[in-house]
Symmetry: C2
DNA sequence: ATAGTAACTATGATAATCATAGTGACAAGA
DNA sequence: TCTTGTCACTATGATTATCATAGTTACTAT
């Protein structure tokens, strides 16, 4: 491909988001960062992406102010990546993607009754299903409000990918 | 690039969504479909994407059940694309992307005070700002609930791109 | 007969992607 | 000291998606 089209100057907000989020590698890395997977090797292993892609995308996310690179030890030099406030605010996008997939992207009985990933509202204990406001207490759901429990199928898959 | 990594068999719901949504062309086309831009040429002109990409992505969206191809006249044969229920349910994702960009992706004063795209809740008339529930009446916002008004800057840009 | 429109398909150059291997800086054990 | 191991990457080469541009099909209108 020639140079990818640049959308960073459009006035359309969806276009601006698409400039960063319209990339499968970025989405997978963001997912991992949201789940607390901060180390380069862990992200590469779990996403299945090659190290050059992980490297390039993390660099991009840092440039965009979505993530930040942080040294967690000096000798030997080791770094990890964390979401910034701007990054954490992408929660709604990733959560909406999760909700949509839970509703539409699985074959009948593929997971075995429940969702691939179950979420509970920490504040009230209710299972949130695929809602944007808690069906138990009516509060809008934000970053940090939820406790996730992967289904057995997802748990097994992640264990197989881990380093 | 070699064959793009296949994520359609992962059990992670974000991964499954990323398989379709992790592509800037798909996101731009979906945006246009949400705004009622249904014709091939109109989508190509507004997105700035080449006809092969528009063609390939629309084909993909139809295969995935997100959009459907519909003949709106017989002689000469003319077709348009519409979102299915599965496609309309992606509203939350696109709306979250819009909200995030309105909050983070514009320089100070770039638009001129207001948002790039202003949304009003049809039911109660309140400006929804960048919320997922209406700040006027507290109702969760869904597909069709909002009336959008582009800023002058966005309106000018779209007029320039139109065929 | 010529021009115009909508919805595409075809072609060739370019660049992003993947798989694989390798590097730098260090720690721990034999 | 020598070897092995870990983490965070960088380098290389084959493959293929992408872009820009031009062309096609099936008509209608003048």
């Amino acid at each position: 491909m020639p140079k990818r089209a640049d959308l960073s100057d459009t006035y359309c907000p969806v276009g601006r988001s698409a400039e960063i989020l319209g990339d499968r590698a970025v989405l997978l890395i963001l997912r991992d960062l949201f789940f607390g997977r901060r180390r380069f090797e862990a992200i590469a292993a779990n996403t299945g992406l090659g190290p050059q892609i992980v490297s390039a995308r993390l660099k991009l996310l840092v440039e965009e102010g979505v993530a930040e690179r942080h040294a967690y030890q000096e000798r030997p030099p080791r770094h990890e990546y964390r979401l910034t406030a701007k990054g954490k605010d992408l929660f709604d996008v990733l959560y909406a993607m999760r909700n949509w997939a839970e509703r539409w992207a699985y074959a009948e009985g593929e997971i075995g009754g429940g969702p691939a990933m179950r979420y509970v509202h920490r504040a009230c204990g209710a299972d949130v299903g695929t809602s944007v406001v808690c069906p138990g207490c009516g509060e809008p759901l934000r970053y940090g409000d939820l406790k996730g429990e992967p289904s057995a199928a997802l748990k097994a898959e992640q264990a197989a990918r881990a380093v």
